[in-house]
């Protein structure tokens, strides 16, 4: 885990050099296309997976996707795409 001071320092670094924060701070990057697709980069794995709910582990918490007919369209080591009728995406940190 990244310490608090370290995190602050990294954030300042990212601001100073205008670097993408998700890389410097090792954070997930979530792209939602309408309510049809949810594309998550830099995840840590699937915690729970049903057709109504997909819980994905990310650095420091999890991202929960609610919806209907959810399908994992594609999955690789650090990216995942969830298709379906998405109604809610929320974070739990």
């Amino acid at each position: 885990m990244v310490g608090k001071g370290d995190k602050k320092w990294r954030q300042n670094l990212a601001d100073l050099f205008e670097l993408p924060r998700e890389i410097v701070l090792n954070l997930p990057r979530l792209t939602v296309i309408g309510n049809l697709q949810c594309y998550l980069e830099n995840h840590r794995g699937v915690i729970q997976y049903t057709t109504e709910k997909v819980r994905l582990a990310v650095n420091g918490g999890e991202i929960i996707i609610h919806g209907e007919n959810l399908v994992i369209r594609y999955m690789a080591n650090d990216e995942i795409a969830v298709d379906g009728n998405i109604s809610k995406v929320h974070y739990e940190f």
């Binding site: 794995g45 699937v46 915690i47 729970q48 997976y49 049903t50 057709t51 959810l70 399908v71 994992i72 369209r73 594609y74 999955m75 690789a76 080591n77 795409a81």
Partner: protein, 408 residues
């Protein structure tokens, strides 16, 4: 993603179901190992997912570890498609028959065409080739092209050269016919003037001169008559018994001065047309020569304008599509009057006259001298110039005798 799916379609993939309590763990483990999974759908109590063929064996190992049960639901992709279709004997026979017949038909001569005929008939050449064995329905490989060409030349003496070549299923016979050299004309005839001119020098090869240096001749006038008068210092011209002149084919050269004239006019006040930059555009679609649609301004809103049109047709690939689009531009123009000096106007008129005069000049004739005359036009602004080119050339021409017995 699409590219990946396409790749897996070619390498083959499996649709499997994972049954068990820890399917998420199974999925995570697979992910960590770098096994690509896609289209994961959750059914009741089990997950259905797709995995490529090679990774499946690693998955079985993981399933054992997490206590999941794997079941292959469907084998999909090209390798399975091929192995399935290989079992259909009718299809295989059909495909191979198709390929074999395509190959056989393309190794036959199906058409014969003839190129380069002039006096001989194409059908005759084709039948001649047919007699020698080059006809539609013959194997391409069985044709000995050089042999055929030689035999054909021997068979038909009017041919100088024959070439056989095959393009696709078409046999092309290229022929060159014999051309007889023109027979030297020995018929009696005169040499006449091809142009008007002033004779400078006469050189006679055969015949009797009818003009001499200093004479002015007009076109068609006899220069050298085709007669040979036997002359002897002992014969008296008044003698009735003197031998009569013998008609011969006259030959010779007559060098003469020839003039070519050109006349040009120019106005001291000229109008220059400048485009203002404004324009209106109209498009029309033409199908098969008929205007179908016209878009844009129908009336041109300028008092003075120039029209330009660009015609575009669709590219001809397999057949010509008879659709053309014509774009018509109307450019607005401003008229500007320019007052020229007398010298400028004269130059302009002379230039116009020069072009007209040089246009008449035959190729390869040396220009002797050039003269310019100003001509009164009667109109104040108009200036006329006459441009005369003088040349020295041979104006002798053998008279065209269309006597009837043409040798061919």
């Amino acid at each position: 993603m699409f590219i990946l799916k396409l790749r897996y379609f070619f390498t083959g993939y499996l649709v499997i179901s994972v049954q068990g309590t820890a399917t998420e763990k199974f999925i995570n483990l697979a992910m960590r190992q770098g096994i690509p999974l896609w289209d994961l759908a959750r059914g009741s109590e089990k997950a259905v997912l797709k995995v490529d063929m090679d990774s499946f064996f690693e998955l079985r190992h993981l399933a054992k570890k997490t206590g999941c049960r794997l079941k292959i639901l469907q084998k999909a992709g090209l390798p399975f498609l091929i192995s399935r279709s290989l079992r259909r004997r009718g299809l295989i026979i059909g495909i191979s028959l198709f390929i074999v017949s395509l190959y056989l038909l393309s190794s036959l001569i199906l058409f014969v065409s003839v190129e380069g005929t002039d006096k001989l008939d194409e059908k005759y050449i084709r039948s001649l080739a047919g007699e020698l064995g080059a006809r539609p329905g013959v194997w391409k490989a069985s044709l000995d092209k050089e042999d055929l060409a030689n035999e054909m030349i021997l068979l038909e003496p009017k041919l100088t050269w024959v070439g056989f070549h095959v393009r696709g299923t078409r046999l092309i016979i290229e022929v060159v016919e014999k051309i007889k050299p023109p027979v030297e004309n020995d018929m009696p005839g005169n040499v006449v003037a091809a142009k008007d001119g002033l004779v400078v020098d006469v050189l006679i090869v055969m015949g009797e001169a009818r003009v001499q240096a200093g004479d002015t001749v007009s076109r068609g006038q006899i220069l050298i008559e085709g007669l040979l008068v036997p002359q002897s210092p002992f014969t008296d011209p008044e003698d009735k018994d003197a031998p009569s002149p013998v008609p011969v084919h006259a030959r010779g050269e007559v060098l003469a001065r020839v003039w070519y004239e050109g006349y040009g006019e120019a106005n001291t006040v000229s109008v220059k047309r400048n485009r203002t930059g404004k324009r209106s555009i109209a498009w029309s679609v033409i199908v098969d020569g008929q205007s179908v649609l016209r878009v844009g301004r129908s009336e041109i809103p300028y008092a003075n304008y120039e029209l330009a049109s660009i015609k575009r047709s669709l590219p001809e690939r397999i057949f010509r599509i008879p659709v053309e689009i014509i774009t018509e531009y109307a450019y607005e123009i401003e008229l500007e009057q320019i007052q020229l000096t007398r010298e400028q106007t004269l130059d302009q008129a002379a230039e116009r006259a020069r072009i007209l005069a040089e246009f008449q000049l035959p190729v390869g004739v040396a220009v002797e001298s050039v003269s310019l005359n100003e001509v009164e036009t009667g109109t104040g602004n108009l200036v006329g110039v006459q441009y005369i080119i003088e040349t020295l050339e041979n104006i002798a021409e053998e008279e065209d005798i269309t006597g009837g017995d043409e040798t061919s």
